[in-house]
């Protein structure tokens, strides 16, 4: 450590030298089908104490580039060209011993998924302690030191918490522990690989704020990897945009946001949900009637816009087994009421555990409410017999979050979309095939994809297939449970546009369940904000976004990455 310090003080007097510099970096993976270039001609400079963000979609090579800097490429990957200069030293030529020396002490890492990055069989404290020991930084009273390190990362009651195992921690607390580990040796560079993408927005905000404070105090430079341009621009001085393994644009964060020059960056800026402030309006020509319902202001004047779903005092109680005092109850949904107008979109927003998905399941009639009513088009759902339920299924259809889980991997696309028609005995084989073709066309997939299997499609394409399946029975209501949350920004924008077009065209009603307020702004007419099973705020999207009444809603809005950026109106 002392040697490094000496170098810094020497440098301070003269022109500052970059802490990390990637020059024409190329990374290649050896796969079964030969060598695949993952990164080409990547250039990047991080000055001491600076925060630099790499932005890109999945598969753009952003994580690979960062991992190469700390020598953590997967076994089949290697640096095939260029140089990685850390404080002037070429790490591509450094031996293993030197790299181990640098890790932790000079270059720290905060990984992406807090659930899988802590070893489940060791106590949190031990996992911090071994970091200090491995880097020869452990003091005599190492347990006190561990508690300090954890407390610095914002973990309350750190001394006690250090004696617990990872599974006793929430996601946010685990991420704090990982940040504590990453910063425990006061590294000069911290690589933060999507450090908060698995967390709720409010937690994400807290953790990023805390990380910023800590790195500022320590003078640590940060290489932040993210898919979220808004987050990157908010947190970094400098943004590097990667696309298909190449750096397509880099420069000052706000400059890139205001004046994107590469067509990919332009597209990214245009579709970043956190920067949008308006509801998507369908580009397709829409009938007067549906155009009317699209605009919330006209509701009162249009007599046709009745409430297709009325939810009254909906409550769901789960009996918890075990725990102290047998039979403890858990109220997942607590006295929830809302209406959805025909042809409009209601978004139910909340963080994990808010009960929003349970509401969706009850409206889909997949879970029975403990009490309360769901009235669909005048009839109470809770009192449906088998036959009526079967008919109900035709009119309400779901689209789920995980594009990898919502399609049966054994069914090809044709069978997947045809299944609802077959189940409801609609048409003969020929007319069903015609319908499948029509549906594929509606979701902008080529008819040739009919014989394909889900594993051959990308996430966005799978979600299109899920939309086509949901539409096969010409439903009136589509329930989207986090339908775009797992998708890359550009793909997400595509699907949201598709949903808006379909709504205009078919007069669909959407119940949109999401944690992402930025998405809500783009798609919803009305919003219900849920917290711990209760609706804390409801209103039109404009009301809720422009004039939130509740502190919780304000906190949520505040936590949208990029919400605090001041942008010229043409971008916003």
């Amino acid at each position: 450590m002392s040697k490094d310090r000496v170098q810094i003080t020497e440098e301070d007097s003269s022109v500052p030298r970059p802490l990390l510099e990637l020059r024409d970096l190329a990374i290649t993976f050896d796969t079964a089908s030969g060598e695949v270039p993952a990164v080409r001609n990547a250039n990047l400079t991080i000055m001491p104490g600076e925060t630099v963000a790499i932005v890109g979609e999945s598969g753009s090579g952003k994580s690979t580039t960062a991992l190469a800097a700390i020598g953590l490429l997967p076994e089949n990957g290697r640096v095939s060209g260029g140089r990685i200069l850390f404080d002037g030293e070429d790490l591509t030529k450094a031996d293993n011993k030197r790299i181990i020396e640098l890790r932790g002490r000079s270059i720290g890492m905060v990984p992406q998924d807090p659930m899988s990055n802590l070893n489940p069989v060791w106590k949190i404290g031990y996992q911090v302690k071994e970091t200090l020991r491995a880097n020869n930084l452990a003091r005599k009273d190492v347990d006190v030191q561990v508690a300090e390190v954890l407390a610095d990362a914002g973990l309350p009651d750190a001394a006690q918490r250090a004696k617990q195992y990872p599974h006793e921690f929430s996601g946010g607390m685990r991420q704090r522990a990982l940040i504590a580990i990453g910063l425990s040796c006061s590294p000069r560079l911290l690589i933060a690989d999507e450090p908060t993408s698995a967390l709720d927005v409010t937690v994400q905000r807290q953790i990023l704020d805390h990380l910023a404070t800590m790195t500022a105090e320590l003078g640590t430079a940060v290489l932040l990897i993210t898919h979220d341009l808004g987050l990157a621009a908010e947190r970094a001085e400098k943004v590097v945009v990667m696309y298909k393994g190449r750096v397509v644009e880099s420069g000052p964060a706000l400059e890139i946001l205001r004046n994107p020059r590469h067509p990919y960056t332009q597209r990214l800026v245009a579709s970043a949900p956190s920067l949008a402030s308006q509801r998507i309006k369908s580009a397709k020509t829409s009938s007067v009637e549906s155009a009317d319902v699209l605009l919330p202001k006209s509701e009162a004047t249009v007599s046709k816009s009745d409430d297709v779903i009325e939810v009254r005092n909906l409550t769901k109680v789960y009996k918890l087994r075990g725990g102290k005092g047998a039979g403890a109850d858990f109220k997942a949904v607590d006295d929830v009421s809302f209406d959805i107008k025909r042809g409009s979109t209601l978004a139910v927003v909340g963080e994990s555990g808010s009960g929003k998905s349970t509401v969706a399941k009850m409206v889909l009639n997949l879970e029975k409410p403990t009490s309360g009513k769901i009235i669909f088009d005048g009839t109470d759902l809770t009192a449906l017999d088998k036959k009526a339920l079967f008919d109900f299924r035709r009119r309400v259809q779901p689209i789920f979050q995980d594009p990898y889980g919502s399609l049966d991997p054994m069914y090809n696309i044709y069978r997947t979309i045809e299944e609802p028609l077959r189940v409801h005995n609609i048409g003969d084989k020929k007319s069903r095939e015609a319908k499948v073709r029509e549906l594929l066309d509606q979701v902008a997939l080529p008819a040739s994809s009919m014989r394909r299997f889900p594993n051959e499609l990308s996430g966005g394409q799978r979600q299109r297939v899920a939309v086509a399946r949901a539409l096969a029975l010409d439903p009136e209501i589509v329930i989207c449970d986090e339908a775009v949350s797992a998708l890359d920004v550009l793909v997400q924008a595509q699907i949201l546009n598709l949903l808006a077009d379909l709504q205009a065209e078919l007069g669909l009603t959407y119940l949109f369940i999401t944690h992402d307020l930025a998405v809500v702004r783009q798609i919803a007419d009305h919003v219900c904000v849920m917290e711990k099973g209760k609706v804390v705020e409801a209103g039109t999207t404009d009301q809720v976004f422009n004039d939130p009444a509740q502190a919780y809603t304000r906190a949520l809005l505040d936590a949208i990455p990029g919400s605090r950026l001041e942008l010229p109106p043409e971008v916003a």
Binding site: E237, K238, Y264, L366, D408
Partner: protein, 327 residues
């Protein structure tokens, strides 16, 4: 978090050089259509993909060919041997190989080659039918337990535990102490014994696989389409739970062949009148010291067959590995 938290981690030093705005040459980094579908490649189901992977694996090719050979031998032993395996002459007792008798003779003077060829049928029959039996019984009970959960699961789990607590050989001994079984020993009693004692394992595997699939979004989606619970089990859950069951079944087939041999050795397997590798190995032990080859050949035939099934299971496991075929 206080309102005045700095957004950026550093108060950028005035000495820091101005950050350059770099834009890559658009020619060299062309923008591609978002999320386009490659329409060229041929469609591949999971099974087709697994088959494509399998075909390239030498381990798979070798074991599949060996199993094919064993099956041909079992079905058409006449193609391979004309000498009767039961016309034995004590004159030839423990004789070495001679013309027309490439592997020599047993203690009883029977032709070893003919017995090895003819023995394939019983050994493979035990393996195949026992496997079918455990997959049907264990698979059904495991799938029902995993899918419906609750008290059905609890009852079936305890039932499986009860049978699981009887180690294979102990259980076989007890079952064979039944007079009916003792008096009617045949391929079927051996199969029944192995099925009764072997189903819990398949049931456990199936149960686990079904539990993993039953809450998948595509099952929930099917139910919200109006597919009934039972139908969702049959059309979505079971087809997606098959791969681990296939793998274990393949390996079990080999293990059952070994078990038959062990049971025959203990005198609780196939009756002496049925020709099987197990019986031949068991009866060869008496002449082990004088003529070890009489034990070697049936043992070799059995072991190679079993090895083929285990290797096949390994190869299929690799080909169906969900981690390997993600996306």
């Amino acid at each position: 978090m206080p309102e005045n938290t700095p957004l950026r981690s550093t108060q950028s030093t005035p000495a820091a050089p101005k950050i350059e705005h770099f834009v890559a040459d658009v020619e060299q980094t062309p923008l591609q259509a978002t999320d386009s579908l490659n329409e060229q490649a041929a469609p591949l189901s999971m099974w087709a993909e697994a088959w494509k992977n399998l075909r390239r694996q030498p381990l798979f090719v070798i074991s599949a060919l060996l199993i094919l050979l064993a099956l041909v031998v079992a079905f058409f032993p006449g193609l391979f041997v004309q000498v009767s395996p039961t016309q034995c002459d004590l004159i030839n007792s423990n004789e070495g190989p001679s013309g027309g008798h490439p592997l020599g003779f047993t203690l009883q003077g029977c032709d070893v080659y003919a017995r090895v060829i003819r023995g394939a049928q019983a050994s493979l029959a035990v393996g195949v039918f026992s496997t079918i039996g455990v997959v049907i019984i264990g698979g059904t009970l495991g799938a029902v337990a995993g899918y419906y959960g609750g008290w059905i699961d609890a009852v079936l789990a305890r039932l499986a535990d009860i049978f699981f607590a009887l180690p294979l050989i102990l259980g076989a001994i007890v079952i064979n102490s039944l007079p009916y079984v003792r008096e009617h020993r045949s391929v079927w009693t051996v199969v029944a014994t192995l099925v009764v004692l072997g189903w819990p394992q398949i049931a456990r595997i199936t149960r686990g696989a079904v539990i993993e699939v039953r809450n998948a979004d595509f099952v929930v989606a099917a139910q919200s389409l109006g597919v009934s619970r039972v139908k969702a089990l049959l059309t979505h859950v079971i087809p997606n739970s098959l791969s681990p069951v296939i793998v274990i079944a393949t390996v079990s087939l080999g293990i059952f062949i070994v078990a038959e041999a062990t049971m025959s050795f203990l005198g609780i397997g196939l009756p002496g009148t049925v020709m099987s590798w197990g019986n031949d190995i068991a009866s060869a032990q008496t002449s082990l010291r004088d003529n070890p080859t009489t034990l070697l050949w049936p043992a070799l035939a059995l072991s190679i067959t079993v090895l083929s099934f285990i290797m096949l299971g390994d190869a299929v496991r690799d080909a169906l590995d969900p981690k390997a075929r993600k996306r």
